[in-house]
Amino acid sequence: MHNEDLKNAPAELLVETARRSRRKFIAEAGALTFSGVAVAMLGGQSTAIAAGIGDAAAAQDVRILRTAVAAEHEAVAAYQLGAESGLLEPAVLKVAVKFQGHHKEHVEALAAAIRKLGGDAPDALKQYDFPVEKLKNQADVLNFAAGLERGAVSAYAGAIPAFDNRELSSAAASILADEAMHWAVLRHALGLDPVPGAFFS
């Protein structure tokens, strides 16, 4: 559409065009969020950058990544617990499973980065010590999940400056953004302010 046409277009058409473009952008951005961008950062470019497991800085990065994988495994298990609890309405269950899928993707990407750096990613524990006795209803499950997501945001915020490899910091920031979105959605669902402040640590 030329500028002249744009000027003469009915307002509704412009609004609809903008709406469609935004939807397309959001959909495409969502698809790229982790699988396209962060995996490439973690699993591809880091190969050339890694100095090897013998290097102290790389070894420290691996330890941080292993801790992150362990925490992501915990999140996957927690959502599994919630999904199997029988306490979630179908629509909520769908969201929980979606979020769990994100955490599984995080595990895969972080584990790939560890392997590229010459390390071994930790497996999930056989059993997690979750406060199962306190999960009595859907709100309890969502609050439990929100607590984990909030913790994950802080954990990544604390890890990002600790990485020696800046690309790992960048990838961790990508994961942090995803965890923050989970946290906001869960808080909203719980009737809490989804975005309680301008800054967060």
Partner: protein, 144 residues
């Protein structure tokens, strides 16, 4: 239907199901979401720890109940890094202040991948709150 639209609808469904039901819910990993009047600042800062830690349960990191006076690397049932096991630090206000400022520098080889709390006042507030995690704390119920 795009994924974004579907997500939006699901979020709305979540909201409709639960909005108004809950004013403030305690954390299910130790009451750390929300806050209390006593030690609220330290408790809030502890929010930075709950990705890996809990007062009363071993998770990615060890539990914190009974931290003061404990020797590093000695919580039963938790698998520590060799560095932490060998550090043999007794946790008190001074050692925690040293460690939490920059864990990775304090004990190289620790798996605690956290850059640290550089602000002295915030570190002190957190340590004061950690000191409250003793046997008779409600957050430590059932912890031996």
């Amino acid at each position: 239907m795009t994924a974004a639209v579907a997500m939006c609808r699901l979020a709305k469904a979540l909201l409709l199901l639960l909005v108004g039901c809950i004013a403030a819910a305690p954390s299910l990993f130790g009451g750390v979401v929300g806050g209390t009047d006593t030690g609220a600042a330290g408790q809030d800062i502890y929010g930075q720890c709950i990705g890996c830690h809990s007062p009363d349960r071993n998770r990615t990191g060890p539990l914190h109940c009974g931290l003061f006076g404990r020797v590093s690397g000695t919580v039963q049932g938790f698998e520590y890094s060799p560095a932490m096991r060998e550090a043999r630090v007794t946790w008190d206000a001074e050692s925690l202040d040293w460690f939490l400022r920059s864990p990775l520098d304090a004990i190289p080889g620790t798996t605690m991948g956290f850059a640290g709390i550089r602000d002295d006042a915030r570190r002190t507030q957190l340590i004061e709150w950690l000191e409250t995690l003793v046997e008779d704390s409600p957050l430590c119920e059932g912890v031996r």
